[in-house]
């Protein structure tokens, strides 16, 4: 295969080799033992391995421990309001579709206060990797139940234990139309997490990745403390995420067809009852993104004509002296 001019330029770009430092601003100030460190490290390794230009990445987050991501990732960042990361991401994806968009939220941020935005952005299928770092608790505000807290979780807002069964974000996401990518991984599986993020990064559309992580201070025992005994099962398929058992002692590997929505829903629905699925749960790269749909309908905006229209309209109300 002969070299094309695009390859030539790519080659020039590849000579600019980026290291971990090029994606790092400062030492992350999360508590020691926090899964956020692992998620950030896996993301930085993935960006470095793919030699992504830091100036082409935009990281949008909401509020919470995990939402401090843009501070630690050397890229363009937008630390938005509580629950409002996704509306900002929709704006970024529409205004600058050529940029690589990353949205980071926590479980409270995404599933609770940002729940409505989450549902509708999934339906919009914007071109963004959406990472939800789920530790089953509000940790930044020092322990309040979140939508994914297990029943009976004792917290500042539920001193007698929480009363409700947790929300199953995988099942909810799979019930939304236009969903195109759902994967689940865990912060104590660095290899699997990096592979998951890589697959999500390369997906065109909304790649929803739920990262299970424990909070060493307020929820140290979530997910069996992220230990070797964590009950996980790896989903294996030819176009899925390579199985990497890491520290897990007993994690079965099951065949799964991520293109089959019924199979994906069955896996998601049982996730709380039996073993947590790890890997690519649902995948449909054919779903068009919202930008594609919108840009195909309106080729260009005639800004001049619009400005003139507004000008003319306002002139009608001008008072002539």
């Amino acid at each position: 295969m002969s070299l094309t001019i695009d390859d030539f330029v790519q080659k020039e770009e590849s000579t600019c080799s980026y290291g971990m430092d090029d994606y790092t601003t400062e030492a992350a100030r999360w508590c020691k033992g926090c899964g956020g460190h692992g998620a950030l490290g896996a993301l930085q390794r993935m960006l470095r391995d793919n030699q992504v230009h830091p100036e082409e990445v935009v990281c949008v987050s909401g509020i919470g421990c995990s939402s401090r991501f843009p501070h630690y990732l050397r890229a363009y960042g937008f630390h938005t309001l509580h629950g409002r990361a996704l509306p900002v991401s929709v704006g970024v994806s529409l205004a600058r579709p050529e940029l690589k968009l990353l949205t980071v939220m926590g479980d409270g941020d995404c599933f609770s206060i940002g729940g409505n935005h989450w549902l509708h952005t999934l339906r919009y299928n914007i071109n963004s990797m959406v990472m939800v770092l789920d530790n089953e608790i509000y940790a930044l505000t020092k322990k309040q139940v979140s939508p994914t807290s297990r029943i009976g979780t004792v917290s500042n807002t539920s001193p007698r234990g929480s009363y409700l069964e947790p929300l199953n974000p995988l099942s909810v996401a799979l019930g939304i139309s236009n969903i195109s990518f759902i994967a689940q991984t865990a912060s104590w599986l660095p290899g699997h997490m990096q592979a998951t993020l890589e697959k999500a990064w390369k997906h065109k559309g909304l790649a929803f990745v739920r990262i299970l992580q424990r909070c060493p201070v307020f929820m140290p025992n979530a997910f069996q403390g992220g230990s070797v005994d964590f009950p996980g099962k790896f989903l294996e398929s030819p176009e899925g995420i390579p199985v990497d058992k890491g520290i897990l002692r007993d994690a079965p590997v099951v065949a799964h067809d991520p293109r089959n929505i019924n199979a994906a829903q069955a896996v998601a629905a049982n996730s709380h009852m039996e073993k947590e699925p790890l890997g690519l749960i649902y995948y449909n790269p054919e779903v068009p993104t919202y930008s594609d749909i919108r840009y195909s309908k309106v080729a260009t905006v005639d800004r001049k004509a619009k400005a003139k229209l507004l000008d003319d309209y306002l002139t009608r109300y001008s008072v002539e002296s």
């Binding site: 390859d7 490290g41 992220g226 000008d311």
Partner: protein, 581 residues
């Protein structure tokens, strides 16, 4: 389409891609300069008005906006040397961007006599292209802030086409020289060969229209005067990309394109005739064997030399069905081999070389394809002829002149040589195949005979055993013995050891467990979740590696209890503290 257009269209897509890249590179460098202007003076009122447009400019208090923005304005983000370097680069790229088309020369159509001076022009063209790629490369380095004057200044100072890699040469619009083949092979080769062997990736398109060959009209069918054939050129010049094709074939454009992006010199012999029927006939009659020689395709010569697109590849002459009117005036079909003589009979220049077969010579007449298969000794007294379809569409026998016969014999010889060179027909392999087939047939026979023998001896043994068992049973019955007792006196079983039975070989060596030294502390870094636990406990012992995963930097950097504590605290349980020292 004109041949020149075909050559240029073969290159149009990569040229457009290069043109776009020059535009993008210019824009990128321009953006750097614009950004610098905005950083330093973007807050000025005039600049703000320009950026916002007249409508927004009139709606806002630009003085106030300027005051707010002015607080964060910088003197300059780029140092003066970088700024002037980017400015110079922008200037050069802008010139390229404006007259890109005029800087890329089209095919040069020249006469053979002008060939000697062309080398200099080729070098100039290649250096021009190297300049273009250099500017694109510099633009991308500037865009990514990776231009390092200490490294790149000297590298780009004397950048010329010789610094380009093979792949990069393939990106440059090629220097194409187009020459009409005027039949003077000696002049052609004496001027063309020095050009293609000069070490420059020059592409020569040789436009063929007629088939000249200087054969004397000797009264014998062997050509004594030999000339260098372009088809055999790859054997002599194995580093030159050579193709021979016709404009009538759509595949020719793809082959041309592949040749034009090759970093090697190229020679493209193309039959240029608007009459596609004539082109097809030239290919069919082996007057113009199609071939492609790509020096970079494989290390094996046979795979580099490709004859596959010729009709009836395995045969000396290709066959074709011709339609004619028979003696009764009805349409008839005839399958015949198309030789060079058949093609020559349709060429105007050879008309005088064909005469009607005299009626009294019928007994001596033999079709030319059969004639040329005969050994020389058997040819005497024979008169070769061809079937020719005349203007009334009737088939007549025509006798070619000796020079046509000689040329046909020469083309046949050439085709057979090409088949051998390209591996279509390898006489050694054919011989070997025959030999192997004979040996295989013999082996099969002997294996069958052995099997038959084994089978008959086994049947005999089984028969004997059956007879012995029957006898023993009969004797038992007669003696009134039970089945158990009968078993004890039964005939000792024969040795039925199966010669093909797999016997498990004794295990030669025992698998040894890998030696792990548990005394030395270590971390399974690949599994580290980078949770900061160990690093916080003792940064003198633990550190992050280039993947931001922990490793033991210095086990004795702190007290052993810290190692133990970190090992206990590690959520992934991957710190092995080893033995206390």
């Amino acid at each position: 389409m004109e041949l020149q257009e075909i050559v240029e269209s073969a290159w149009s897509a990569p040229l457009q891609a290069l043109r776009n890249k020059v535009s993008i590179a210019t824009q990128n460098v321009s953006d750097i300069l614009t950004l610098e202007v905005l950083r330093t003076s973007g807050h000025h009122e005039a600049e703000l008005e320009r950026s916002l447009g007249s409508f927004a400019g009139a709606s806002l208090d630009l003085g106030a906006v300027s005051k707010v923005f002015g607080k964060n304005a910088k003197k300059a983000a780029l140092d003066s040397s970088t700024y002037s370097r980017v400015q110079a680069l922008h200037q050069q790229l802008s010139v390229w961007n404006i007259d890109f088309e005029s800087r890329i020369p089209s095919c040069k159509v020249i006469a053979i006599s002008d060939l000697p001076g062309i080398e200099k022009q080729a070098v100039e063209h290649l250096n021009q292209m190297a300049e273009c790629l250099k500017l694109i490369r510099m633009a991308w380095l500037e865009r990514n802030s990776k231009y390092d004057p200490a490294v790149h200044d000297s590298y780009f100072a004397d950048f010329n086409w010789e610094k380009l890699t093979n792949d990069e040469v393939g990106l440059c619009p090629p220097f194409v020289v187009m020459i009409k083949d005027q039949g003077d092979k000696n002049l052609f080769y004496s001027t063309l060969l020095p050009l293609v062997t000069s070490g420059l990736p020059v592409k020569v398109v040789l436009e063929k229209s007629a088939f000249y060959n200087t054969y004397q009209a000797f009264s014998r069918s062997t050509a004594l005067r030999c000339s260098l054939e372009i088809e055999m050129l790859p054997v002599a010049l194995k580093g030159v990309y050579v193709i021979q094709d016709t404009v009538a074939r759509p595949q020719a454009i793809a082959h041309l394109q592949a040749g034009l992006i090759s970093p090697r010199p190229g020679l493209f012999s193309i039959l240029n005739d608007a009459d596609s029927g004539r082109c097809d006939q030239a290919v069919l009659s082996r007057a113009l064997p199609l071939f492609r020689y790509d020096p970079d395709k494989s290390e094996v010569f046979l795979k580099r030399f490709d004859l596959a697109e010729n009709p009836d590849l395995k045969d000396v002459w290709a066959s074709s069905t011709i339609e004619f009117l028979n003696a009764a005036g009805k349409k008839d079909l005839m399958q015949k081999k198309i030789t060079f003589a058949d093609f020559a009979a349709t060429e105007a220049q050879y008309q005088s070389d064909f005469s009607d077969l005299p009626a009294n010579q019928e007994s001596r007449a033999i079709e030319i394809s059969a004639y040329l298969e005969l050994p020389y000794a058997d040819r005497s007294g024979k008169l070769p002829f061809i079937f020719f379809r005349n203007s009334q569409n009737a088939l007549v026998k025509k006798v070619p002149s000796m020079r046509i016969v000689a040329q046909t014999a020469d083309k046949r010889h050439l085709w057979k040589s090409l088949c051998e060179v390209s591996g279509v027909n390898n006489p050694y392999l054919t011989e070997l195949e025959k030999q192997l087939r004979t040996e295989a047939a013999k082996d099969k026979e002997s294996a069958l005979a052995d099997l038959r023998n084994d089978l008959s001896s086994e049947i005999e043994a089984l028969n004997q055993e059956a007879v012995q068992q029957a006898m023993a049973k009969l004797a038992g019955n007669l003696a009134g013995l039970s089945a158990l007792e009968l078993g004890q006196i039964a005939v000792a079983p024969q040795d039925k050891t199966n010669p093909f039975k797999m016997v498990s070989a004794p295990i030669a060596s025992k698998i040894q467990a890998p030696v792990v030294n548990f005394d030395t502390p270590y971390i399974e870094s690949k599994l580290c979740t980078a949770c900061d636990e160990c690093i916080t406990i003792d940064p003198n012992i633990f550190a992050y590696d280039s993947n931001k995963q922990a490793f033991i930097k210095n086990a004795k950097g702190g007290p052993y209890k810290n190692l133990l504590k970190a090992s206990k605290k590690c959520s992934a349980k991957i710190i092995h503290p080893g033995k206390e020292w």
